[in-house]
Subunit: 166 residues, 2 copies
Amino acid sequence: MGDPTHNPVGDNAAMRISARADYAVRAALQLAACTDSGPVKAEAISAAQEIPHKFLEGILNDMRRGGLVTSQRGGNGGYRLARPAAEISIADVIRTVDGPLVSVRGVRPPELSYSGPAESLLPLWIALRANVRQVLDGTSLEDVACSGLPADVKKLAENPSAWTNP
Amino acid sequence: MGDPTHNPVGDNAAMRISARADYAVRAALQLAACTDSGPVKAEAISAAQEIPHKFLEGILNDMRRGGLVTSQRGGNGGYRLARPAAEISIADVIRTVDGPLVSVRGVRPPELSYSGPAESLLPLWIALRANVRQVLDGTSLEDVACSGLPADVKKLAENPSAWTNP
DNA sequence: GCATTTCCTACTACTCTGATAGGGAAGGGT
DNA sequence: ACCCTTCCCTATCAGAGTAGTAGGAAATGC
């Protein structure tokens, strides 16, 4: 008992950022960087960020439907951000391609209800979500691509213990 | 364009707490509550928290292998916490049944590397993870089951805007 | 030896993830 | 008018993970 080499069920994490979300954010950052040089082709983004290009096409399409980017077909078409990079948060991008930021058992925290000794679990999930939002809603594409992370986020990332695995 | 009724791809969230993790925490809380009354049967937990009992059995087993609970078979056997409830964090429980807290595309943040305008994405994920840890590592079973959430967590949960969906 | 309760293995149904393939539709240049 | 480029749409796929269910073997206490 108390087996120190215990490995959980899978090697999969409890809260995971999907490849879609990661790719979407990186694509958006690429668009934020190349701001005043006309539309950027999917192929260019795919090459710059090493994202499978057909997969990326689908993601860019979702972002267009979500109103995050606009597109132009033909000759030298491509994509560009629909709004200034400073007005698009990382959370906006993730929500657009992956839905709500945080859920528990598939439902958003406010829809949950617990009883007995688990009653205070609901406020805990709410606090967790609030903390996730603080980082992802509070950081814009411009912050990441150019001007540097917001002060509070930078502070979190500067703590060396934040970089170590459990 | 900018379709206001846009619904992402699935209705699934970006970062989700699985049913396993939610059940595991609630079961552990139930054990934390019934501390000095001998071992608690899986069936009792399952009834109290409305968790499918065969599913719960598997989860309790994982927690035993992970050294979080001890078990006793036969007559009036059951489960109890292996350590005092104040010394087991919510993160401990989740890691035991679901692996690492946060991952991006299946790998833990420190293993990632980004280039170009996405370079500052790594510290962002690190900050995100730090914030998740702050809540889940900083809250014990006892906090949730009896003594009330830690001050900083309570503060997060008291903000009304934390309770609204985007 | 018998009831109880944990422990183990296997199985199922379904969904999600991370892609790939092929072609159709729009736009621009000449 | 033509053609080339680039986005846009639909379909398909293999593999993995999720949430359970089922049946029985092994331990414990009376």
